[in-house]
């Protein structure tokens, strides 16, 4: 710990500084336990779940640095971890579907939820959420509007969603992404039009995030159905 005095400001109490070593040890130990679990359990699904423990160990080691920069690094680390586990579980599901020849619905529900409220309420709630999302704009607004679309889709899946609708939404998402990029480019190329650039990127990312959240998993499932 000879270099620590140089890097850590004197306002930080030595107790906090001394926590770094135990935190790293805990992180490595967690990772080791996870790897032991993977070595002992041979099942594919258990291996997938246990690798998540190794991911947590990674987050512990990153968070142990405990500066604001490290805090900013935890989020991308978590997102990458989630993306990896989603991709691998999708591969696993695709393989199992291929093996057994059975298809799996988007949301496997044990009950038949054929209720009237699922026909009347979703449209209203989705419109409110999308309107509020459009009012918020930006990434948060996109997330809110996306929840509205996702809610609409999830409650309508019982009736069935037309696949052409999803292709249209995917197209809108692509165009919105281009708008977002153009907005960002304008910030650098023509800074005097910053307001236009701001609105382009704000609403581009709104539509983009909204349509992407609404699309989660659905396009993949359509792809799978088309082949059969």
């Amino acid at each position: 710990m000879t270099g620590a005095e140089v890097l850590v400001p004197s306002v930080v109490s030595p107790l906090v500084v001394s926590l770094y070593k135990p935190a790293i040890l805990v992180g490595l130990l967690t990772g080791f336990i996870g790897l032991l679990g993977i070595a002992f359990k041979k099942g594919d699904l258990t291996a997938l779940i246990l690798t998540d423990i190794v991911g947590f160990a990674m987050l512990i080691i990153v968070a142990a640095v405990a500066t604001d920069l490290a805090e900013a690094l935890v989020l991308p680390g978590l997102v990458v971890e989630l993306a990896e586990i989603l991709a691998i579980s999708e591969v696993l599901m695709s393989r199992e579907m291929r093996k057994t020849g059975k298809n799996v619905s988007l949301i496997p529900l044990p009950l038949s939820l054929d209720m009237e409220i699922l026909e009347t309420a979703p449209t209203f709630l989705a419109i409110i959420l999308i309107a509020y999302g459009a009012f918020l704009s930006g990434f948060t607004g996109g997330a809110v509007a996306g929840v509205g679309i996702l809610f609409y889709v999830l409650s309508r899946t019982i009736r069935g969603v037309p696949s052409t609708l999803w292709e249209g939404v995917a197209g809108i998402s692509g165009v919105a992404w281009v708008l977002w990029l153009i907005g960002f480019l304008m910030f650098f190329v023509t800074p005097q039009y910053w307001l236009l650039a701001l609105f382009l990127s704000a609403f581009g990312v709104l539509i983009k995030v909204a349509s992407k959240v609404g699309l989660i998993g659905v396009l993949g499932r359509e792809e799978f159905k088309r082949e059969k």
């Binding site: 997938l48 991911g55 680390g77 993306a83």
Partner: protein, 140 residues
């Protein structure tokens, strides 16, 4: 890939791993999907040394900027340890030498597309990774 920030590079490497799994996952053969699953598990485990290495370098030097890192004169044992972790992570994510067995089956199976992309992305990332490790450790 041509980034001046160490953490951006590690994120890029992790994304390369995910994209490789995605490319192979598009193939509808059970053997290839098996191999993609194993590669995915290795890639996920490798994210521990990958991000852990970057975080340890941040803890040891106080910066992640490669320009700042190249100006630092002394290399502590902690930085060397972090570099070893980083190398392990990159090897696992791109599936090179010690972890090649997970990827081999993907290449052997006929009909899997984009093999060249997967191979080339790994190679280019390795070249840049070696450069970054040289910048951090300054052996010469």
């Amino acid at each position: 890939m041509i980034t001046g920030d160490l953490f951006n590079f590690t994120l890029f490497v992790a994304l390369i791993g995910i994209v490789n799994i995605g490319l192979v996952g598009a193939v509808k053969l059970v053997d290839v999907l098996d191999s993609a699953f194993q590669y995915g598990i290795i890639a996920m485990i490798a994210s521990l040394p990958l991000f852990g290495g970057a975080a340890t370098i941040l803890a040891a030097t106080g910066t992640l900027s490669l320009i700042e890192l190249s100006h630092l004169s002394l290399v502590t044992p902690m930085v060397q340890f972090a570099s070893v972790l980083l190398l392990m992570g990159i090897a696992g994510e791109t599936g090179i030498a010690p972890f090649y067995a997970t990827k081999a089956e993907m290449f052997r199976t006929p009909g899997s597309p984009f093999l060249v992309i997967i191979h080339l992305s790994s190679l280019l990332v390795i070249v840049r990774a070696i450069e970054i490790l040289l910048i951090i450790n300054k052996p010469f």
